[in-house]
């Protein structure tokens, strides 16, 4: 057989496979990527988190659902701002009871105003996956977050279905689990999220912007990695590395310049003035 005929045949087979896989190439879907805005992180991911694909994130340890949702909402707010479309969040009842329900004012401060976030509450994990699949197929939603409290039955098949639905609709799918889950998963990237102490804004102590450590456990586009991220409303920044542990008044190792530790007055009092830059 002449080599040209063989290569033509091969090309034909490749085209058929590409058609079977939903009109996109074997390597990456044609939907593009959602950049984090951090060069190192985006480079590792090949431009950012792929649209039209399923991603998975778990809390690094049980009881860290808060950091997980904060990370997911920051990502969703970024997606909503870029695509100018709403986000859908599915919360399984168990997850809501265990870690708290989504709170509108908090979501608004995370960059998802009224109307940009739709919440669906379901009882069982299967229902949450079904809602995710329906929503991922719908072109009007830019990101679908699914928080599943219990184990996902038949995880590989279920996540594979979600991946296909995401590829058809072009939205970003993000499956959130409250604890590390060793079961196989068809997600393109897998993240492990843990809370991180924040950097105090000034010498008086107080709370800084929330930080998480995002560990990229699996990455189909490149190597894994770990970053310390500062979560803003819809944007990410690399948090400066921590130089020293935050002093604690009980240790007595280092004391603040005031005679006793005072709580910082809140910035959100009515009639407050903007803090001096």
């Amino acid at each position: 057989m002449p080599p040209s005929a063989g290569s033509a045949e091969l090309a034909g087979l490749r085209r058929r496979i590409a058609a079977l896989e939903g009109g996109s190439g074997p390597d990456g879907p044609s939907w593009g990527a959602l950049p984090f805005g951090i060069a190192d992180l985006d480079g590792t991911l090949g431009g950012g988190l792929a649209w039209g694909a399923l991603h998975a994130a778990t809390a690094a340890a049980p009881g860290q659902e808060g950091a997980l949702l904060a990370f997911a909402l920051a990502l969703a707010a970024r997606a909503a701002r870029l695509r100018r479309a709403p986000v859908l969040l599915v919360q399984q009842e168990l997850a809501g009871l265990e870690g708290g329900w989504l709170y509108g004012p908090g979501a608004q401060e995370a960059g998802l105003p009224e109307g940009a976030l739709i919440l669906v509450r379901v009882r069982r994990a299967e229902e949450a996956l079904l809602v995710m699949e329906e929503a991922l197929k719908c072109s009007a939603v830019c990101a679908v977050l699914g928080e599943v409290g219990t184990g996902v039955p038949d995880a590989l098949t279920a996540t594979r279905r979600l991946s296909l639905a995401a590829r058809a609709g072009g939205a970003l799918g993000l499956l959130l689990r409250p604890a590390p889950d060793p079961s196989p998963c068809a997600a393109v990237t897998r993240w492990s999220i843990a809370p991180q102490p924040s950097t105090p804004p000034d010498a008086f102590g107080g709370l800084g912007v929330g930080c998480v450590s995002a560990r990229l456990m699996r990455n189909r586009q490149g190597p894994p990695g770990a970053w310390r991220l500062r979560l803003g409303p819809g944007d990410f920044a690399l948090a400066p590395p921590r130089l020293m542990p935050r002093e604690d008044s009980h240790d007595g190792a280092r004391r603040p310049p005031l005679s006793q530790p005072l709580a910082r007055p809140p910035l959100d009092r009515p009639g407050r003035t903007a803090p001096a830059a």
Partner: protein, 488 residues
């Protein structure tokens, strides 16, 4: 025969025909009845079960007319004006109804007449099982021989009338009205006039009749879910045409499935914007059916009715190149399908209200009820300025109920230095607060104590939203601490 517990003991509440033939009557003490007929079989009286049974019959009678009402505790009222000819006239309709009731193992008496009161009186007291009174008959003459009890007067009025020697309705007909009204009240004359057709009366309908409704009687009952859904789409076409003629779309759709044995299954779906496309309608019902564990078809359904109880204007539109509108419609479609499947109360939009109390500031409203779900312009106004270095002031996760914690604070009014939540000890590394939130002054009833909210960060970086309930010393002696939300 059933008995009910009375103040004075067990009394007969209802009888079957053989018991009535023995000369027993409701109200008789069970001991007296037993003395006369020792072999009586007695069951306990269950008024609620009777009421449920009667409601089941009302539902089943919706196949004849949409205008239905309960009539006392033992009767149904069907307004069959304009419906009788669909069943071959009043006589065949009545026979069909009685045959269906007999088929379910119960006995019934029925009558049709020009007024509801006359029909009720004739059905109860004429002694005939199925009596059809043509509209031209003189009702006063027909009702004259019936006992006064047929008018369902109050017991005292009835007893007084009987003492005066009035036994049947005809006795009252030619008496002067003014003394009767003075002695027994206007209610007696109203009843009399309503029965004979001299005055009009109103029925309390069980369901408000929908303006748009289509139905399909089936010669052979169907059982399969696919058949039901296919037929629903078939029914949605004439409904869509009717709605289109009036420039309307349905916000709510009801599908009533009438089972052969008289049970009625009702499915209702709602939509965020008016719909009339048969394919969309069928899809919504498919989601609804998929959420049911089973569509209990029994021996099959022999009548399907699709109605639109809530309609809104929906004009025909030119399809354009406006992708924003297409996306908004796609989103509404998604929300409708999810709401049909999981229930309206599970597809929610978080709302931010201008309130200080956290539970009131963030409410979840059903997405279908909120119009214009998404406005991209809102995304442009960042809620938090970049200069604000302290992070969000409200947590993205809030517990449905604040969870109590054991906290230790350095000063009574200060933030906690360490607290135990869900059996885990957390050391506080940084805190901000207090943010004092008190109940509004105008709300005195059930006022909760003032709350001092703190945002705290533990040494491992977890952030909590804690509050102390009650002002130290003035409101409560030992304020309790709670965790209300999680920041991260």
């Amino acid at each position: 025969m059933s008995v009910a517990q009375d103040k004075a003991g067990l009394r007969l509440a209802a009888l079957n025909a053989p018991a009535a033939a023995l000369g027993l009557a409701p109200g008789l003490a069970l001991a007296d009845a037993r003395a006369r007929h020792p072999g009586l079989q007695v069951v306990a009286h269950e008024p609620q079960a009777d009421a449920r049974l009667l409601e089941g019959f009302v539902d089943a009678c919706e196949r004849y007319t949409p205008l239905l009402a309960l009539d006392g505790r033992d009767g149904l009222m069907l307004d069959i004006s304009g419906c009788a000819h669909l069943f071959g006239g009043e006589g065949p309709l009545l026979r069909d109804l009685l045959a269906r009731v007999a088929g379910s193992g119960h006995s019934a008496r029925a009558a049709t007449a020009a007024t509801p009161e006359a029909a009720a009186a004739l059905a109860r007291c004429s002694g005939r099982r199925g009596l059809v009174v043509p509209p031209e008959r003189d009702l006063a003459a027909l009702l004259a021989p019936l006992p006064l009890a047929a008018l369902r007067l109050e017991a005292t009025t009835l007893a007084a009338l009987e003492r005066l020697g009035f036994a049947c309705i005809g006795d009252l007909a030619d008496k002067p009205r003014a003394p009767l009204a003075a002695r027994f009240g206007v209610a007696l004359l109203d009843r009399l006039d309503a029965a004979t057709g001299r005055a009009r009366s109103a029925l309390h309908h069980r369901f408000p009749p929908p303006r748009f409704s289509v139905e399909k009687p089936l010669a052979e009952p169907i059982e399969r879910v696919e058949d039901v859904l296919g037929l629903t789409r078939h029914l949605a076409q004439p409904l869509a045409q009717a709605l289109e003629r009036h420039g309307l779309g349905a916000r709510r759709l009801d599908l009533a499935l009438f089972r052969v044995d008289g049970k009625v299954t009702r499915l209702a779906v709602g939509s965020g914007r008016p719909v009339r496309d048969p394919v969309l309608v069928a899809r919504l019902f498919a989601e609804k059916v998929a959420a049911l564990t089973s569509l209990d078809a029994g021996f099959g359904f022999d009548l399907l009715r699709l109605s639109a109880p809530l309609v809104e204007p929906l004009e025909a539109r030119q399809e354009g190149f406006d992708t924003r509108r297409a996306e908004s419609e796609a989103l509404d479609g998604l929300l409708d399908r999810l709401a049909a499947r999981f229930g309206t109360e599970r597809v929610l939009l978080p709302r931010v209200a201008d309130a200080h109390i956290p539970e009131e500031a963030g409410r979840l409203v059903p997405a279908q009820r909120a119009r214009a779900v998404f406005d991209p312009a809102h995304l442009d106004a960042p809620a938090l300025s970049a200069a604000d270095s302290a992070g969000p002031t409200r947590p993205p996760r809030l517990f449905a109920r604040p969870e109590p914690i054991e906290a230790v604070a350095e000063v009574p009014d200060g933030p906690p230095t360490r607290f135990r939540w869900r059996r885990v000890l957390h050391d506080v590394a940084a805190a901000e607060g207090p943010e004092r939130i008190a109940a509004p002054w105008w709300r005195e009833e059930g006022m909760s104590p003032t709350r001092d909210y703190f945002r705290v960060e533990t040494r491992d970086g977890r952030r909590f939203w804690l509050f102390r309930a009650g002002l130290f010393g003035t409101e409560v002696a030992h304020p309790a601490w709670y965790v209300h939300g999680l920041f991260g």
